[in-house]
């Protein structure tokens, strides 16, 4: 401990008795691997989101009444615009630094979701979801869902032409719930689309409800990591089942994280300067009855959009009047099934391989054929769906009729995941057999084999 910190700690300790806990925390050991930093970057992005978000909130007007823009942007000068959109134009063109903070905010939001997704991929591939961490795995899935919600509401707030289209489709998804859809949609939207209530409500969700939920959930997530200690990659000569090996929090991990935080902010600022994104004047305000040609959501919802695009026509009524429609199956049932499956996967693996005990050492997915197959299958399927969300652009670029691209996607999304999944599972089974191994049913067992091999 440096003298200054030591002195401060002495004074605090005399009052709050923190020394023991502080020392234990300072001595907490963090295994190092670059992929463990993904979660950290997500947390740092969240901090940047909150800070920049506060700034934006001072200027944003959550309201869709038409007002006249009197600022300096030549595209909109003198035009009557929905207040929400007008305030974004004003913030970008007339508030000093406004565009920078908007770009930082959007950039951080993409980074936030991207690092959550990659972090989750790492957890799934290496098996960090196994006992005792199943609970935290669920918390993580909840966090991803909340992040999607925050992303979608944030995307909607500028009330540009894209946002309006996205909100309209979300409204349809709510409507499509059998039996109760129209009620639920009216509750959330305050009436039939496009009501004036939707933007103020999304605003409250985006700046209060979702951030509070996300921060609380991140807190819970980190608390569990703290209690359960980190997983780590296997290392020869280290009993990873009983020991954590790595750098202590103070000063080494602290130094690393500080740097990472500052660099995350720095790179986002550099991106905000170099890439001229978030330009609302390219889009224009949302006017009912008008839509631009490329109606795409943010990238992290591409898979949902793709499912809506390639799902075959479907609409039927079950007496006495329950309507099941394509948007319901593709936009509600399908994602529900995928998320449920991913959430239950740890139990499937446990069942199939008859696993017991606690697991703290990570594994190459090729050592567990089921996991390799399932992960490649699910994620290739999601990627194909995401690609299908650009079928109009693909068709224009490749000169292939859109009908054909859609059919290719329909076939591919069923065939490719199955073929790839079976292939990689078979490959990893062979690979195990070649080494004379099988899937160990407990970590201690696996560790012995690892040492023996």
């Amino acid at each position: 401990m440096t003298p200054l910190f030591g002195k401060l700690l002495d004074e605090l300790d005399a009052r709050l008795h923190v020394r023991r806990d502080a020392r234990r925390t300072a001595n907490k050991v963090f295994p190092s691997n670059w992929s463990f930093l993904l979660g950290e970057v997500a947390v740092f992005s969240l901090v940047i989101l909150v800070l920049t978000g506060i700034f934006l909130t001072f200027f944003y007007r959550p309201n869709v009444e038409m007002i006249t823009y009197t600022g300096s942007n030549p595209v909109f000068a003198g035009r009557s615009l929905p207040a929400a959109f007008e305030s974004i134009v004003r913030l970008s063109s007339d508030v000093n630094g406004g565009l920078l903070f908007r770009r930082l905010h959007r950039g951080a939001s993409h980074l936030f979701i991207a690092t959550i997704v990659l972090h989750m991929l790492r957890i799934m591939l290496t098996g960090a979801f196994r006992k005792p961490r199943e609970l935290n795995y669920f918390v993580g899935i909840g966090l991803l869902t909340l992040a999607f919600g925050a992303g979608f509401t944030g995307y909607s707030l500028p009330y540009d032409s894209l946002a309006g289209t996205g909100i309209r489709i979300a409204y349809t998804e709510l409507l499509s719930l059998p039996l109760i859809g129209d009620r639920v949609a009216f509750w959330i939207f305050g009436g039939a689309f496009p009501t004036g209530d939707v933007i103020p409500r999304f605003f409250v969700l985006h700046v209060m409800v979702l951030p509070a939920a996300i921060i609380a959930t991140v807190g819970l997530h980190l608390f569990m990591v703290y209690r359960q200690k980190h997983t780590q990659f296997p290392r020869l000569g280290v009993d990873g089942h009983n020991l954590v090996l790595g750098k202590p929090l103070w000063p080494l991990q602290f130094a690393e994280s500080t740097t990472l935080f500052l660099w995350t902010g720095g790179l986002l600022a550099a991106a905000a300067v170099l890439i001229p994104w978030s330009d609302v004047s390219l889009l224009g305000p949302y006017i009912p009855g008008e839509v631009g040609n490329n109606a795409q959501p943010d990238w992290f919802l591409f898979w949902l959009e793709g499912a809506l695009r390639i799902f075959p026509p479907l609409e039927f009524t079950i007496p006495p009047g329950i309507v099941i429609s394509g948007p319901f199956v593709a936009g509600v049932v399908l994602p529900g099934l995928i998320f449920t499956f991913l959430a239950l996967y740890p139990f499937l693996e446990k069942r199939v391989y008859d696993l017991s005990g606690e697991w703290h050492v990570l594994q190459n997915p090729l050592e567990i054929p089921l996991r390799a197959g399932v992960m490649l299958g699910v994620f290739s399927g999601l990627l194909i769906l995401s690609a299908a969300a650009t079928n109009d652009i693909l068709s224009r670029m490749l000169g292939i009729p859109i009908e054909m691209i859609t059919w290719i996607a329909r076939v591919a999304v069923i065939v490719v995941p199955v073929v790839l999944g079976l292939w990689i599972a078979r490959y990893s089974r062979k690979r195990l057999r070649r080494r004379g191994l099988d899937v160990p049913s407990s970590e201690v067992d696996g560790q012995e084999r690892y040492i023996a091999a």
């Binding site: 009216f186 009855g289 859609t406």
Partner: protein, 288 residues
């Protein structure tokens, strides 16, 4: 650093590497600190002088990156590089008693079930305020603002006469008095070589060539925006549903399952286009 050692009695250090003090490192720390400070000033001044994002944004980026770099070099000079281990199960064997040490008495499960039931009911009743979030849908989603005799007007509110729609042209029109009422949006099409056929309702076609459909896509509700003249197709940009404009707008491709409802179209005495009534089918996406 023996102080260091003493302050971590319970850290089991596996390996420790102390880098020799290096002037190069000192220079890096000081250099990046200076860069960061200057960049910070640059950011503040740039913002105060209302320069462009390229100026103060770059200053911010450089400042943060330099500060991060400096912090890293600083720590690596001040502390040894340590690898340590920590036991995962420090309390093993000490706390394997169950959490609640007092066993419950074997009776009165009814009390417990009543409480759980009451808790459930109470929890559900907390949802009671939900209905006041929005009005009951009623038939608001099933009816539009089109009535018998309502004139078709453009977004500017101008009525349209039967002969000022260009051939092969489409126009977005609204009921007079309800411009921008989303669910009432209508797309007016003038089909070139009049082959309008069943299942189009031919009585609602004006002059064998003017026909009007709901503009709200029956898939997910986007506005159907494009008209392809060569095959008289209406096209929705959201998910590429395609409708045949001369055959009652039945879907020919894409994820939608239902035709665009046709608006009963007529002409009033002054020659302006009017609706002969509301749509007869459900407008927009399915629900219920």
């Amino acid at each position: 650093m023996s102080d260091e050692q003493r302050s971590r009695p319970d850290l089991q250090v596996v390996s420790e590497e102390t880098p020799p003090p290096s002037q190069a490192n000192d220079a890096l720390v000081i250099g990046s600190a200076i860069v960061a400070a200057l960049a910070g000033i640059g950011f503040a001044v740039g913002l105060a002088l209302q320069t462009s994002i390229a100026v103060y944004g770059t200053a911010l980026a450089i400042g943060l990156l330099a500060l991060g770099f400096g912090a890293r070099r600083y720590f690596s000079d001040l502390f040894p590089d340590i690898e340590a281990v920590e036991p995962r199960h420090p309390d093993d064997g000490e706390d394997d008693e169950s959490v609640a040490a007092i066993a419950p008495l074997e009776r009165r499960s009814m009390l417990r079930n009543t409480l759980i039931g009451a808790g459930g009911v109470f929890g559900l009743s907390l949802l009671a305020p939900v209905p006041s979030l929005g009005p009951a849908p009623g038939d608001e989603l099933k009816r539009t603002d089109w009535r018998r005799g309502t004139r078709l007007v453009t977004t500017d509110g101008e009525p349209i006469s039967a002969d000022n729609v260009a051939t092969g042209g489409v126009a977005t029109v609204w009921p007079e008095g309800s411009v921008n009422n989303e669910i009432s949006a209508v797309i007016l099409v003038r089909v070139g070589d009049g082959h309008i056929r069943e299942p189009t309702n031919l009585e609602w076609v004006v002059n064998d060539e003017l026909i009007a459909y709901s503009k709200v896509c029956t898939h997910a509700g986007c506005p159907v925006g494009l008209f392809r003249e060569q095959d008289n197709a209406l096209f929705c940009p959201c998910h590429q549903s395609t409708f045949d404009a001369v055959r009652g707008a039945v879907p020919t491709f894409g994820p939608t399952a239902r035709a665009l409802p046709q608006l009963p179209l007529g002409v009033d005495e002054e020659g302006f286009l009017i609706a002969l009534g509301d749509f007869e089918e459900q407008v927009g996406p399915a629900f219920g």
